[in-house]
């Protein structure tokens, strides 16, 4: 990453992946990518890394709550419903 262009687009990559870049910057970045296989390879790895985060979030295990914890939560929920009914 010695080219000035590479360094410049390096700063914009997350906004590019999130479609948050201004159209002019986006066009400039895509033009650069057409001529720079190294940056393309880097963008792909960054994108894959973001995908892994999303998959990681989606693959969370639903842990079992202890019966006492569930009972405490149910009690708080019932009080919440009672407060809402009383305030009507």
């Amino acid at each position: 990453m010695k080219h000035d262009d590479c360094a410049h687009i390096f700063e914009l990559l997350s906004e590019y992946l999130d479609h948050e870049l201004e159209p002019a910057s986006c066009e400039q970045l895509e033009n650069h990518l057409q001529d720079c296989p190294e940056c393309v390879e880097f963008v792909q790895s960054l994108k894959r890394s973001r995908e892994l985060c999303r998959q990681f979030g989606g693959s969370r295990q639903a842990a079992q709550l202890a019966p006492e914890a569930m009972a405490a939560l149910r009690g708080a929920y019932q009080k919440m419903m009672a407060r809402r009914a009383a305030s009507r």
């Binding site: 990453m1 890394s49 973001r50 990681f56 979030g57 639903a62 405490a72 419903m81 305030s87």
Partner: protein, 202 residues
């Protein structure tokens, strides 16, 4: 995925099924979020349960049901900070962009960048316990400033605005920290891929 307003509306029906669904869904999310923030399983479980209790106790303060998820995660974030452990929250490190750029192999401008073979990764993270574990470790290694943003934006998939609201910072700060956090995470994973069998850089 249900909208925030729909989740809130279902919860306010008072149905046992709505209660169970809400607790199940948010308990799983909050446990994972808290584990990655606090670094301790016991703390994470306490944070998740304490957050859910506070949600039921103070939901009257939620003014806009469209912001339910960010409101819940703001409570969880505050609970995590109360469990703050020096081992994982300190020191406060800053990530510099220069340190996150890949190195170039060889001399001169034409040198190839030094990057692992990312195509060796399985498509489905679920099938690979070792990769799941590496992901958790890579996220936990991020300095807290960046980890808090990466978790909300990329793991929980909340918007820039929601993340800003939860962390009580501006949207520009969210974007800056997200970019550095993502680059650092990519770098950790890149190193992991090189150490992984069959994942050597070409």
């Amino acid at each position: 995925m249900k909208s925030d307003a729909q989740i809130a509306a279902d919860l306010f029906t008072g149905d046992e099924a709505a209660f169970t669904e809400f607790v199940k869904a948010f308990h799983a999310r909050l446990s994972q979020y808290s584990f990655l923030m606090c670094g301790q399983r016991e703390d994470a479980e306490e944070v998740a349960q304490e957050t859910l209790l506070k949600v039921f106790e103070s939901i009257d303060q939620l003014r806009d049901p469209n912001r339910l998820r960010s409101w819940v995660f703001r409570i969880a974030k505050n609970e995590c900070f109360m469990k703050r452990r020096k081992s994982i929250f300190a020191p406060k490190a800053e990530l510099s962009l220069d340190d996150l750029k890949p190195a170039r192999l060889g001399d001169g401008e034409g040198g190839r960048i030094d990057i692992a073979d990312w195509s060796s990764l399985p498509d489905d993270l679920l099938l690979d316990a070792e990769l799941r574990d590496a992901m958790a470790k890579a996220i936990q290694r991020l300095p807290e400033t960046y980890r808090s943003v990466v978790l909300l934006r990329d793991v929980e998939e909340l918007s820039t605005e929601e993340t800003a609201e939860i962390l009580e910072i501006g949207t520009d700060a969210v974007k800056t920290r997200l970019h550095r956090g993502r680059l650092a995470l990519r770098q950790h994973l890149d190193r992991y891929l090189r150490s992984r069998k069959g994942g050597q850089a070409a």
